[in-house]
């Protein structure tokens, strides 16, 4: 395998799991986790799953270095229906077809694994997630309101949040079909439905899990898990524009990317 990561910007599927049941998360209910004024775990802060600024020079997760970016059981390929597999392979063979290489928003949950920081700002009735990549933001109401009755399709979907014990649960729907799920070529339909779970741990990490359902392309739900950590330095979300000088589209040689399910 002679491919290496080059450059930041797109979700790295360090953690992709195919299974029916999520492993039990040990909720950090001992009181040793940070809590907000209302007693909920306080997710506010700068977080990152992978990337250069998190793990040193390259940011790549290497086996045996004791800094896993994943948790839970081993990954497996996304459970695509038979008809969809050929399309996945075809999309994955040409980087020019990757929406993020085209500088489009990464979509949910792929955005969580993009190797640059994100910031969570938790307030009484809304939680905000500010992503450095493409300056994406999500506003997640936590006041009990449902999704709007009629949703236009969007890249990041419509999010509503609630607390399941000490786990922040975000329901996301109303997607377009222009983004990929974590991984190369992992397309989805507008019927994608994502449930994210953010569980703060006593060691001040977040166990992140996204369950993706898409009855038009999957045979069963698929899960993606990351450990979100604070970057080692006093990080700030920086400006990141993607379109400015994107020469990749004109220099990519199609058919030379390798597909790893």
């Amino acid at each position: 395998m002679k491919i290496a990561l080059l450059f930041v910007a797109v979700a790295v599927p360090v953690c992709t799991f195919a299974q029916d049941k999520a492993p039990a998360v040990k909720n950090a209910s001992s009181g040793k986790i940070r809590r907000d004024a209302e007693g909920r775990p306080d997710l506010s802060g700068i977080w990152q799953g992978i990337g250069v600024s998190l793990f040193g020079e390259t940011g790549e997760v290497r086996p045996g270095e004791g800094r896993a970016s994943t948790w839970g059981p081993p990954p497996g390929p996304p459970p695509y229906q038979d008809w969809a597999l050929a399309k996945v392979k075809e999309l994955a063979s040409d980087d020019r077809k990757d929406p993020t290489v085209q500088c489009k928003m990464a979509g949910t949950p792929r955005v969580t694994g993009i190797p640059v920081p994100l910031e969570i700002a938790q307030t009484a009735k809304k939680t905000y997630i500010l992503y450095e990549t493409n300056h994406i933001f999500r506003i997640i109401p936590t006041d009990g309101r449902p999704h709007p009755e009629e949703l236009d399709p969007t890249y990041m979907g419509d999010s509503i949040g609630h607390w399941d014990g000490d786990t922040f649960v975000v329901d996301v729907t109303g997607f377009n079909d222009k983004t990929w799920l974590p991984g190369a070529g992992h397309f989805h339909s507008e019927d994608l439905h994502v449930v994210e779970r953010y569980t703060l741990q006593p060691n001040d990490t977040i166990l992140y899990e996204a369950t993706m359902e898409d009855p038009k392309v999957f045979t069963k739900p698929w899960q993606y898990r990351l450990i979100l950590r604070h970057p080692p330095r006093d990080e700030r979300i920086m400006e990141a524009e993607c379109q400015e000088n994107n020469q990749d589209l004109q220099h990519i040689v199609p058919g030379t990317s390798e597909y790893h399910p």
């Binding site: 491919i3 290496a4 910007a9 330095r233 993607c242 220099h251 990519i252 040689v253 990317s257």
Partner: protein, 127 residues
């Protein structure tokens, strides 16, 4: 269980992490063609999604040849020790990296050695 999980993950993590980024290395560059060049900086494009540094390199025939070095985006370079003032036009630098697949004079930059000998990260290694 812990051992089994580690073994299961170890075979997959690096492959998965290496295969996808803004674009994969293999989509533009050839890991079998490493290159090292010394030249004079003619232009610095501190741009997104990739920084470009242009240098003139004197060939064996004495002619100057322009090369473009592609690097990580500005934010990443900032976090690995760069400042915009670290490099300026007319500096003589040595760069390592890998040549492009399309035959153009472009390099996936790995490391830049500045005039004072300091080395700065420009991009990850080819794997």
């Amino acid at each position: 269980m812990r051992v089994r999980l580690f073994l299961a993950l170890s075979g997959i993590l690096f492959v998965a992490a290496s295969a996808f980024a803004h674009h994969s290395f293999g989509a533009e560059y050839d890991s079998a063609k490493p290159i090292s060049l010394t030249g004079v900086v003619t232009k610095i494009d501190w741009s997104n999604p990739h920084v470009y540094i242009y240098i003139d390199v004197k060939g064996a025939d004495g002619q100057l040849v322009s090369w473009a070095l592609e690097g990580h985006p500005p934010n990443t370079l900032r976090r690995t020790g760069w400042t915009k003032a670290a490099l300026k036009e007319n500096d003589t630098i040595t760069v390592t990296g890998w040549m492009s697949k399309d035959g153009s004079n472009r390099i996936a930059g790995r490391e830049v050695t500045l005039p004072d000998g300091k080395k700065l990260f420009l991009g990850p290694p080819a794997q």
